[in-house]
Amino acid sequence: MSIPVIVIHGGAGAIARSAMTPSKEQSFRQALTEIVATGQQILAAGGSAMDAVTEAVRLLEECPLFNAGHGAVFTHEQTHELDASVMDGQTLQAGAISCVSRVRNPVLLARAVMEHSEHVLFTGDGAEAFARAHGFEMVAADFFSTEDRLQQLHRARQRGGMMLDHDGAAEASGDPIDPDNKYG
């Protein structure tokens, strides 16, 4: 029998560790460490892989450092659109949602789609109606906003492009945007 294991990621960005302030790097490391530890505890207690990945992603959504849930990036219209999915390797069951803006934890809604619907993917208003029908916590549209992400949007708008998750070079160097970032 293999040893249970959890692996997490916090996104992809054009900014490497070398461009990040020490305090910011420590914040990322601490968050990642705590979330991995939580996943390990679930697995050690006999919890399922689905329970472990759901809780890990929920915690990542709750952390403003990462581009999901609270701390999500802005669209061009200065709104948020959140997407999520889950898949169970034992049953090949899957659930997903896209373009929601009021559901606090999109990954929990994706799992609910998997467990309580004959369908796989709901989007926009339909996804949020499904959430309400299943008693999900709904939040104000600005719940997901952070000042860092707003500034990131302003920089992207100035450059007329899009960016992946992490724009750490700007805060570390004072440069308005990483000159090597082809998304901005």
């Binding site: 959890i6 061009h76 659109e81 898949m87 998304y183």
Partner: protein, 133 residues
């Protein structure tokens, strides 16, 4: 984008992915995250995968399922399948990476761009985290 993959004590795999998309994206644009087989996939016979990066390329390459298919149909190892999938991603002009765990508990964290935030932990061991250049 964030994600997680896991193998539990019963030998079951699972994957989850969540995102706010790209900064300054056009409203209504959807990437690979909610698309099963592109940004998220799990199959006990092969692997669990969660992706992050330029979503359009992961969609065109059907990256998460591609890894599973390479393992199931071509007999590749986890690392071989992941490396091939990331190479395919690069051919399409995509940046990013993925995390994966196979049914034997092997893990892979390949990427082709910087700023990759990763963590993993086997039960009974200390969590390992890093931010990869």
């Amino acid at each position: 984008t964030v994600g997680a993959v896991a193998l539990d004590a019963q030998g079951n795999l699972a994957a989850a992915t969540s995102t706010g998309g790209l900064t300054n994206k056009q409203v209504g644009r959807v990437g690979d995250t909610p698309l099963i087989g592109a940004g998220c996939y799990a199959n006990n016979r092969t692997v669990a995968v969660s992706c992050t990066g330029t979503g359009e390329m992961f969609m065109r390459a059907v990256t998460a399922y591609d890894i599973s298919a390479r393992m199931e149909y071509a007999g590749m190892t986890l690392v071989e399948a992941c490396d091939a999938a990331v190479a395919r991603l690069a051919e399409l002009g995509g940046d990013g990476g993925l995390i994966a765990v196979d049914h034997l508990g092997n893990i892979a964290l390949p990427f082709n761009t910087g700023g990759m935030y990763r963590g993993y932990g086997h039960v009974g061991e200390l969590p390992q985290v890093d931010i990869y250049r």
